[in-house]
């Protein structure tokens, strides 16, 4: 059956990052932070599910990450994904976008018969927005980035609106294609209660003992994991060794002090501040 692949990443909730979250080698200590579904990947999944329903394509969610990332895969099952895949191997650690996109592209190839790949526009931790396009390049798919609306979809094409920054663009493209989806594109659905009941016990093979594994298998609760060897990947192109960029130094951002001049909030205070603004303003203008 024809497939849609949604690329999803578990990310630390960057709204609450402390210095302890970084390891000395400059890589991220994800364990130290609450982990969430990358927000725009939920928009990608929503788009995938609605297209899947319309065209009868299977929706597969793929994530590369540590075992804990199975959480977002379970969430994907709750929302309605047909299949989910965890790609996990110690040798994938510290990958930059080139190495990440190599692994994800190989996963798409391994799934076979993929018509559409959907990624979030950007992950809120690495913030590069590079992984989507770099996957498209490796699997030779057309791409449309910054998708703000799915206007039309049929078995052989989609019509999309793209945020072209100075203008918005209405674009028609055939399959196969990779889209990077923005938060504006849709409102992700809530997890479905029946599916939550069906999958709340889902987990990795290692989460089950011998006894329960059999039952888990029968119920489709075992989330499959692919390692570097399962996928037959070149270790030289994965993780740190496959990454041309290296994090050389990390600095936490702190407030820089200024000489703050506070004015009263009464009329006199405000008038005084306005005078200062105008005076300064005239000075800098000159």
């Amino acid at each position: 059956m024809k497939k849609i692949v949604v690329l999803a990443k578990q990310v630390p909730d960057t709204a609450n990052v402390t210095g302890d979250a970084m390891k000395p080698d400059g890589t991220v200590n994800r364990a130290a932070l609450p982990a969430i579904f990358n927000p725009e990947d939920l928009n990608a999944l929503e788009m995938g599910l609605s297209i899947g329903e319309k065209l009868g394509f299977e929706v597969h969610v793929v994530t590369m990450g540590p075992p804990k990332a199975v959480e977002i895969l379970k969430h994907s099952l709750y929302m309605g994904a047909d299949n989910v895949w965890l790609i996990s191997d110690r040798r994938f650690a510290a990958a930059d976008t080139l190495a990440t996109s190599y692994v994800l592209a190989e996963a798409v190839k391994k799934l076979g018969d993929v018509q559409l790949v959907l990624a979030g526009r950007q992950a809120i931790d690495g913030d590069t927005a590079q992984v989507g396009p770099q996957v498209a390049e490796k699997i030779d798919f057309n791409q449309v980035t910054y998708v703000t609306e799915l206007k039309e979809v049929d078995v052989d094409h989609v019509v999309l609106e793209r945020d072209g920054e100075t203008r918005s663009e209405t674009i028609r493209t055939g399959f196969p294609v990779l889209l990077t989806v923005t938060a504006e594109a849709n409102t992700p659905r809530f997890p479905n209660a029946a599916r939550m009941l069906q999958f709340f016990r889902a987990g990795l093979e290692s989460d089950f003992d011998e006894e329960s594994l059999k039952i888990a298998r029968e119920n489709g609760w075992v989330v499959p994991t692919w390692t570097l060897d399962d996928m037959g990947l070149d270790p030289e192109r994965c993780g740190l060794s496959g990454s041309p960029t290296k994090v050389h130094k990390i600095k936490s951002i702190t407030l820089k002090g200024t000489d703050l001049q506070l004015f009263n909030r009464d009329k006199t205070g405000i008038q005084e501040m306005v005078r200062n603004i105008v005076k300064d303003y005239v000075e800098v203008e000159r």
Binding site: L98, D127, P133, E137, G164, R167, P244, L260, Q271
Partner: protein, 332 residues
């Protein structure tokens, strides 16, 4: 040593985007110091009408490929042509604007050339790195703006980076130079064109932060779309542009085009007035280099006061009307 700069234009006006000139000047400063050359790389339907400005801002030579089929962003075609240009020119560094075009195309080129690409750099400098000789040090915010990371690409060439508009500065005065333009030979293959652009619509009210000397911004503390009119009124009284925090945009007080910060515009006006804005790292990433910062906030502990030069602890709904009144008096 050689640096290449991806040259981009605004398709609506057929004029250069500011970021291309900013990158040209940055590349010029870097190459001046290290006796290198700056080449511009342009791909599109026709050259921008103000192409000569590139040379004033430090491009030594422009390599251009124009084809009527490339009026729109056909990513795959751009990738192939740019890769061929880069292979011919052999630059050490390639800089792209972190625009919706640059961030679409640069990752494709980096992937095809199997080299590193560093996103959204805020500082670039050249220095020695171990046995790799001189490389580009690329400083960028990550982790939602909570950290500044210095990224290096020691063993691969070219070293590629993207930089957002407004981050690098333009000099007051450009150089006095003659254009030097060479035409690149390529053939657009039919399989490079896979999207059909059905229509394009110019975005309403283009906000002009780059030329604004004053910006008045409102945040969640403004409270409503109606109250946001006060921000526009104050801006009007100052002849300023209107900006916003992401929270104000998310609440629907103003359009997204006005967002300032890590995921909005980066601005550096002479005067920045933040009203009802707490001053999150993400917001500061877009405005903290403003020459003078004024904060109006009910919370004396709001982080915005940590970077402000002047401030009033108070309700913007009361402070702004009084400010407007006195501004009018001062103007007389």
């Amino acid at each position: 040593m050689k640096t290449a700069v991806f040259v981009e234009k605004n398709p609506l006006t057929n004029r250069l985007r500011d970021v291309s000139m900013e990158l040209a000047w940055k590349a010029h400063s870097l190459m001046n110091e290290h006796k290198g050359e700056v080449v511009g790389l342009f791909v599109g339907d026709r050259l921008p009408e103000d192409t000569e400005k590139l040379f004033q801002y430090g491009i030594d030579r422009l390599v251009q490929f124009t084809n009527p089929k490339l009026g729109h962003l056909h990513s795959i075609a751009f990738k192939h042509v740019l890769k061929a240009m880069i292979e011919t020119e052999g630059p050490d560094f390639v800089l792209f604007g972190a625009t919706h075009t640059g961030r679409d195309v640069a990752p494709l080129v980096a992937s095809a050339m199997k080299t590193g690409l560093t996103a959204d750099c805020t500082q670039l400098y050249v220095d020695d790195f171990k046995d790799s000789g001189k490389i580009l040090y690329q400083v960028r915010p990550a982790f939602g703006g909570n950290i500044l990371a210095t990224i290096v690409t020691p063993e691969h060439r070219p070293i590629m980076s993207t930089v957002r508009e407004g981050v690098m500065r333009l000099p007051e005065q450009g150089l006095d130079r003659k254009p030097d333009i060479t035409t690149f030979k390529a053939k657009v293959q039919p399989e490079w064109i896979r999207s059909k652009f059905l229509s394009t619509v110019a975005k309403a009210s283009p906000v002009n932060f780059q030329t604004a000397s004053t910006i008045v911004s409102g945040g969640a503390g403004v409270g409503s779309r109606e109250n946001f009119k006060l921000i526009f009124d104050l801006a009007h009284a100052l002849g300023a542009e209107v900006g916003a925090s992401r929270a104000a945009v998310d609440f629907g007080f103003v359009d997204k085009e006005r967002q300032i910060g890590q995921t909005g515009s980066v601005v550096r006006p002479k005067l920045y007035i933040a009203c009802g804005i707490s001053g999150s790292v993400q917001h500061r990433a877009g405005m903290e280099d403003s020459a003078k910062i004024v904060a109006i906030n009910t919370d004396p502990d709001a982080p915005i006061f940590g970077i402000a030069h002047m401030g009033i602890v108070g309700d913007m709904k009361e402070v702004i009307p009084t400010m407007i009144k006195y501004l009018k008096e001062e103007a007389e």
